[in-house]
Point group: C2
Chain length 340, copies 2
DNA sequence: ATATCTTGTGCAAACGATTACACAGATTTT
DNA sequence: AAAATCTGTGTAATCGTTTGCACAAGATAT
């Protein structure tokens, strides 16, 4: 067993077969110019020598790293990690790997992540924009380099790129309609920055559902925050202490509806009898609470898969024209205990 | 603005300064043989030309990719994503990037992930072993290649590598002692495969705490499963239907204690009055439930940081001797409503 | 004053794969 | 039967950095 210390390369294979490295390279890449017989031999010897292609060398020469950069606010949320899983499943079958980086919703981090990924020579980037991001020059830089970019969920319409989102408007509309059907009339809405597409759309859905049911929109009932659990608590406390009458809360985030529920319970409100609640996101914990929380499912796995598919369409699109494709998925209202 | 289509390379910098690429390369890498004056000039021109080093080329030549492969069962759990965050924070400051891959607790996936990461030429691997993994040859392969490997949380003592874990025994011991102090005597224990270090240690802690308090260990009270929420439900149903008397449950997982709590509530048990509960992991949802769940915090962020530090010690350890280091962190019992 | 270091830089060969171009022999077209 | 095309493979350059070796000039030691 002579086991040269280095890994086996195409040259080793070539040597064993008395052909050149180029032939081996072509054979391994299934180049049509190589005869079937040669291919078979090459493959056999490659297996025999336990040949592992050196992706780095290939990347350097060909300019393709087979790496996809994925930027998410945090991999820590069920929604994002599910999307990632969806992306990964598609990528793996196409022999691409994904590099995940988190922006933690910080603008600086996001910019730096883009920089790092570009430096790492990724073949393209898939991203969901961070909450605090207003300036989107770093994404424009990706586009200008001619590198495929696909956005999902948190997108920007200032950017002419392919994107995959759910119909946030519809999700909100259905959620609020459901509350109204169950008797709610004074529905508080938790929203966040209207610069962010998802919050803007959800609020629009909320308003239209009210309007279509002949309920006047009361600005007093709409509260803005960062949508974390603690924010939900604070907003609920505020509404209660200000003596505002309400019989339901529709939140654009499961986390803040959770905070609201805690506060409501502390104040002795009966849920759903006195106050009905609906969140957004279908985070797993919404089915662990008491009562369980009605919420809107965002179809995370399909979103991941479609995002990846859209991405690979771009990758395979030779004539690098800025073809953009927008996919809008249908959300699903998951009705649980907090609303009926 | 003549903007050659290609990116700027060290040759471009060299050209501008009438030196060679080697000098530029050395200057950029802060090689002591280069004069301070030259370094300054190089840095200046590099900035001026917006030079971005080509990591791929560097990786090919030097054999160092500055990539760390991280394998976790799922990035989707607070514990793992927090550890990842810890790792990332350290790695970023040292200009390393991390490639995350998930095993989904499937053996095949895990083996394939190792393969893929090695193929991607990562400089080292950080991993937490999947639940179904018994054969650990794929990890041995990493070691045999002389590539640094650090395990955290779910480790294997069949492997002579550096590892970072928490004191699972102590965590369990404290949890069970706490239950006993609060009056529990018949404590059910949810455990899982005893091949996995964490479950074995937690069970040992459970048993010793009972023993030290003069309570006999009743094998009937120890149940084994996969520790998901559904498993917790099933085990709790089984215990109840078999008429076994019990006044507390200590679970090695927050998910299965959640399932147990659901079932107990469905059966009308009062928590914590009739049955006290303690989980393990301090998943965020444990503070969302009603009552909130007492659990053991696993110090995920410090674990991530220490894991990364241990990793970099190995990376910087020239004389590749198989120096292994084992760090054991102290867990923390988080006392909440379900136990007192 | 000669021998020996030190300092700063250049030369050129890697690293391992890909690929434009060339070309010989076989096959088909005209 | 000459010309054109196809098939299968080889040659050699290339991707952008890194790095062992060489070497000139200045500094230090003997």
């Amino acid at each position: 067993m002579k086991m040269k210390k280095g890994k086996t390369t195409i040259h080793d294979i070539a040597g064993k077969l008395n052909v050149t490295a180029s032939t081996v390279s072509r054979a391994l890449n299934d180049n049509p110019r190589i005869s079937a017989a040669t291919k078979k031999k090459v493959l056999k010897v490659a297996k025999q020598l336990n040949y592992q292609p050196n992706h780095i060398a290939s990347a350097l020469r060909s300019g393709k790293s087979r790496l996809i950069g994925v930027i998410v606010p945090t991999a820590n949320r069920n929604f994002f990690s599910s999307v990632i899983r969806g992306i990964e499943e598609i990528a793996t079958t196409l022999n691409y790997r994904i590099v995940i980086s988190q922006s933690y919703d910080e603008f600086e981090k996001e910019v730096q992540n883009v920089e790092t990924l570009l430096n790492a020579q990724v073949d393209g980037i898939i991203a969901s924009i961070g909450k605090s991001t207003e300036n989107i020059e770093h994404f424009r830089k990706i586009i200008n380099k001619g590198i495929p970019l696909v956005l999902f969920d948190r997108v920007s319409n200032k950017l002419e790129v392919s994107q995959v989102i759910i119909d946030d408007y519809l999700g909100a509309y259905q959620a609020v309609s459901h509350l109204i059907e169950n008797g709610a009339r004074r529905i508080v809405h938790f929203s966040s920055s209207q610069r962010i597409n998802i919050y803007k759309e959800r609020k629009r859905g909320y308003e239209d559902a009210l309007r279509d049911n002949g309920i006047k929109i009361d600005p007093e009932l709409i509260l803005y925050s960062n949508m974390q659990l603690e924010d939900g608590r604070e907003m609920m406390e505020r509404v209660i202490s200000e003596g505002i009458t309400f019989d339901a809360v529709f939140s654009s985030s499961d986390y803040s509806i959770m905070g609201a529920m805690q506060v409501l319970k502390e104040h002795g409100f009966k849920i759903p009898q006195q106050v009905k609640l609906v969140g957004f996101g279908n985070e797993p914990f919404t089915s662990f609470t008491d009562p369980t929380i009605t919420t809107v499912d965002q179809k995370s796995i399909p979103m991941g898969k479609i995002t990846a598919e859209t991405f690979f369409e771009l990758i395979n699109d030779e004539n690098s024209n800025p073809m953009t494709k927008k996919t809008i998925l249908k959300p699903e209202l998951i009705i649980r205990g907090s609303s009926q």
